[in-house]
């Protein structure tokens, strides 16, 4: 295996924000002091004002290209046409980070516009590893793979999710994007132990942390958390974030909103809060280490 180009931001970079179209003009005018900007690849596979704005912003900010449609978990393999379009965008923007999800999005020529759950089996592991290899060799760089929020689990899964991700790292040399809110959503919906989960991830591979809000819904008469990125980061997720920062100190943090988008100022305030809490958690880590 040849070494892949790294996919990382400078350590200790300030938190970044997800750039969404309604904030684009304001970000261009104000140039807020955030560590980086993350965009969904699939919103920029086009010409026109959006793409040109991003090229201008690329001069002032490190970028992260977060793909949602490569469908790394598809048994039918990677859609080459889509991979080529993402590759062209990555070539054009030269982003600091490129990421995708541990999920699948389509079958039989239907794209289902969602991050769908996988059974964690040896078969799925081999398929996802092959698909990641395909993407990384086309992009000639390492990608980060994100732990998903899932609303169902398959009875024939045999591998715990952190072990599945760790095995992908060792087979493909990919990195991990650890979404703290997704872990919290899965903890609440499926009763995972979050600290156990974090200990299961290979710390050196985690290059980015995601923070977002969720929505509480009803399913079959019971509360279920839906990861809709449409609310502020909740207190429990901030507490998990402090643990995550200590476990993955080199990872950069992103504030992610996708629906019920608040004013840009609210995203910037959350990014500043992430920086503050990160510094606090790392200081606590240092003082623990000194008193030990």
């Amino acid at each position: 295996m040849r070494p892949l180009a790294t996919s990382s931001l400078p350590a200790r970079a300030s938190a970044g924000i997800g750039l969404r179209d309604p904030h684009r003009v304001e970000v261009e005018e104000r140039r807020p002091p955030v560590g980086f900007l993350e965009v969904h690849a699939e919103n920029y596979l086009c010409g026109g004002p959006r793409g040109r704005a991003l090229e201008r912003l690329a001069g002032d900010y490190p970028l992260s290209v977060h793909a949602v449609g490569l469908s790394l978990g598809s048994a039918a393999g990677i859609d080459v046409r889509h991979l080529e379009r993402v590759a062209a965008l990555v070539d054009r923007l030269a982003p600091a980070l490129v990421s995708e999800h541990l999920s699948w999005s389509g079958a039989a020529n239907a794209y289902l516009n969602d991050l769908l759950p996988l059974p964690y089996t040896e078969e799925a592991l081999a398929i996802v590893a092959r698909n990641i290899d395909r993407v990384q060799s086309r992009l000639a760089r390492r990608i980060l793979v994100e732990n998903p929020s899932v609303y169902l689990r398959f009875g024939h899964s045999t591998i715990p999710e952190p072990e599945f991700l760790a095995e992908l790292v060792s087979r493909t040399d990919c990195g991990i994007l650890f979404d703290v809110n997704n872990l919290y959503v899965n903890q609440r919906n499926h009763g995972l132990d979050p600290l156990d989960y974090m200990r299961g991830l290979p710390a050196a591979a985690v290059g980015e942390l995601h923070l977002a809000g969720h929505h509480v819904n009803d399913a079959d008469g019971r509360a279920i958390l839906i990861d809709d990125h449409g609310a502020p980061v909740c207190a429990a997720v901030w507490r998990l974030y402090a643990q995550a920062v200590r476990r993955f100190p080199e990872a950069s943090t992103l504030i992610e909103w996708d629906c019920r988008l608040p004013p840009l100022a609210e995203l910037l305030a959350e990014a500043a809060e992430a920086d503050f809490r990160r510094a606090q958690a790392l200081a606590a880590e240092n003082s623990d280490a000194q008193s030990a």
């Binding site: 699939e42 010409g47 040109r52 449609g69 039989a108 516009n113 169902l152 009875g155 399913a219 079959d220």
Partner: protein
């Protein structure tokens, strides 16, 4: 069903239609039934794609009302899943689908407005191009023009409707000045174009539409000129060519001659 390809095919069926019992048996039922868990994914699929259609067809939605639009969109997304992950590319068949609905039989202008909104969407998102300028033609010999194949800009979209789709769209669009609406107006022929950061349009007569449609199909300038003249109305080739250059709707010259090559 434990084979991943089979599982994903069955899961897609459950999102688009209804789950098979074999799929339900693979899902852990811990307090929330498998059907209810799958319904979360089915709802997400339906809601996000209906929102995507509402974003692409806002004036169509105003014309038919949000309740009817939601019903129509729900039927469309269940039979026409996206084939690619870019949502701004979703909805190519929506206008034709609306045209097939008996409920809209007395509102024939609605699919026309939907097609116009789709045209604007295409023009807005299409690939960037470098507009040709007069200087690009400076080296051409006078006798080379007839054989030229002029390539229209990717964002140059030709639109024609038997209904006054633009006037209706303008009357309902926040993006345009509300003028006098002529629902009974005549047919509408347009060139839609993205110029720099903004969308624009201009009206065409039948001859210029035929001329541009021929260019779009890759015909030579001579053949496109002939297509315009078949409309049996005055057509000034030099003036039409000048308008294309001035507005920046030409992206390249494809010619079999030595002046050719592509831009």
């Amino acid at each position: 069903m434990h084979n991943l390809l089979e599982l994903q095919t069955a899961f897609a069926g459950a999102v688009l239609r209804a789950p098979e019992p074999a799929l339900l048996r693979t899902i852990v039922d811990d307090g929330i039934a498998a059907e209810a868990r799958l319904a979360i994914y089915r709802n997400h699929y339906r809601i996000t794609l209906e929102e995507a259609l509402a974003a692409t067809f806002p004036v169509t939605r105003q014309l038919v009302g949000s309740a009817f639009f939601a019903t129509a969109a729900e039927r469309f997304v269940s039979v026409t899943p996206p084939t690619a992950p870019c949502l701004f590319e979703y909805g190519a068949g929506f206008a034709a689908f609306l045209a097939s609905l008996p409920e809209l039989a007395s509102y024939r202008f609605v699919p026309g407005v939907a097609r116009l909104e789709w045209g604007f969407n295409l023009a807005y998102h299409s690939a960037d191009h470098r507009p040709l300028a007069a200087a690009d033609f400076a080296a051409l010999a006078a006798d080379a023009y007839a054989g030229l194949r002029l390539r229209l800009a990717p964002s140059a979209i030709l639109f024609a409707s038997r209904h006054p789709a633009l006037a209706i769209w303008q009357a309902h669009s926040e993006a345009a000045d509300v003028g006098a609406m002529r629902m009974d107006g005549g047919p509408c022929r347009l060139l839609l174009l993205r110029q720099d950061e903004a969308l624009g349009w201009r009206e065409l007569d039948a001859a210029e539409l035929a001329f541009l449609a021929a260019l779009r199909r890759g015909r030579t300038l001579e053949q496109a000129h002939a297509a315009a003249l078949r409309c049996e109305m005055p057509f000034d080739l030099t003036a039409a060519f000048g308008r294309l250059l001035a507005e920046g709707s030409l992206a390249g010259i494809d010619s079999p001659a030595e002046t050719g090559g592509s831009q």
